[in-house]
Symmetry: C2
Subunit: 221 residues, 2 copies
């Protein structure tokens, strides 16, 4: 027999997917703006972030209603608590995209230093795949896929370190490019954080579907 809570949980998942779509769009848009030097596109990121913030409040309200009216336990409860956390992580990803738009706009207003944009592009692509993959793993309850996401975090960290290193090297001998280098460093940092949030989501998925808490070095099989 289908329970009312099953339908409501399916609705929650749809809301999260919709929100995740907005996050992916904010990220791809802000990266495209930076790479194509299109200042106007940065403003669109703010419009998308507004949608993400609306989603954030809607999802929270839906979770609260479900908790109040259904009094879920066990697996259902774990899943709803995961949604509350995933919701927060997605909202922070929206913030990070907006942060990137600020640094990106600053960067495009300066004399460009070309070297690191390829790495930033790669970081953004990995972060986008992490967002998409972590939400896929959530909707499908695919714990293995969630574990794969955790591995991708190392790639993004390595690229961030490379952007930092290259930018610092350049800044040391080009005082006039210190601001531009710093913009790229901050963008790389924001992308790394975006990846961290996707990692959080993957950990929540593992918890929701296995009951195992792997945060803070907990082991998983």
């Amino acid at each position: 027999m289908e329970r009312a809570i099953d339908t409501q949980i399916e609705d929650l998942k749809k809301m999260i997917l919709l929100m995740g779509g907005h996050v992916e769009k904010a990220l791809s848009q802000v990266t495209a703006a930076l790479l194509s030097k299109d200042l106007g596109m940065f403003d669109q990121v703010h419009a998308i972030e507004k949608l993400i913030n609306e989603d954030h409040i809607k999802v929270d309200n839906a979770c609260m209603n479900l908790l109040a009216k259904q009094g879920p336990v066990a697996k259902d409860l774990r899943l709803i608590l995961s949604v509350i956390k995933i919701n927060n992580d997605l909202e922070r990803m929206g913030d990070q995209s907006v942060n990137i738009s600020y640094s990106g706009k600053d960067y495009l207003g300066r004399k460009p230093i070309q070297q690191q944009l390829d790495d930033i592009k790669k970081m953004s692509e990995i972060a986008g795949r992490m967002v998409k993959g972590s939400l896929d793993s959530f909707v499908r309850g695919d714990v293995q896929q969630a574990k794969d996401i955790l591995m991708m975090d190392d790639e993004i960290d390595a690229l961030k370190n490379k952007v930092f290193k290259d930018a610092v090297l350049h800044m040391k001998s080009h005082g006039e490019d210190v601001e531009a280098g710093l913009d790229l460093i901050l963008i790389a940092r924001n992308l790394e954080r975006l990846g961290d949030h996707a990692t959080n989501i993957a950990e929540d998925v593992i918890f929701a579907f296995t009951g195992k808490d792997i945060r803070h070095g907990g082991k998983f099989g």
Copy 2:
């Protein structure tokens, strides 16, 4: 008549206060390490972060038990959902303190540039007051105090901008100090984020005790 849930909610509040105490200690310790140039103190920050991570899991479990066994509604439910979020923000503050310890250790290993440490000290003091104040407001249900915390965020942002500006200016004419300047910039950024998390807590307090959602530009009276 006292309800069982009241006692359990009081226990939750105590757990959050204990965790908040650990966060305050991590922050004051990492700042003291930086200001007193005491490398060994940075390691203590990692030990405190472990406690914070343990608290994080304990609080989450306590919330889940309470939701499963008591099926709380209305004000109780709002309060427990706030604790879940506050718990996450406190845990992230622990992460930020550890991030500061990494940049701080790097900074102390280089030729020092003195100018910004006063501002960093001020930022850390404000962040510490924000953490303490936001948790006080939570435990006492003091909505006015929570609103005061929101105002303090501007002070910390202004100081962060000052650290950024001063460091960039210095880096432009001292290529050999680019890394040290960047360390200070990253520390200032982490302290700003720490303040943001305290702001999140204050917003959660306002929601828990008034039912008003003031996130994302929602209005409050």
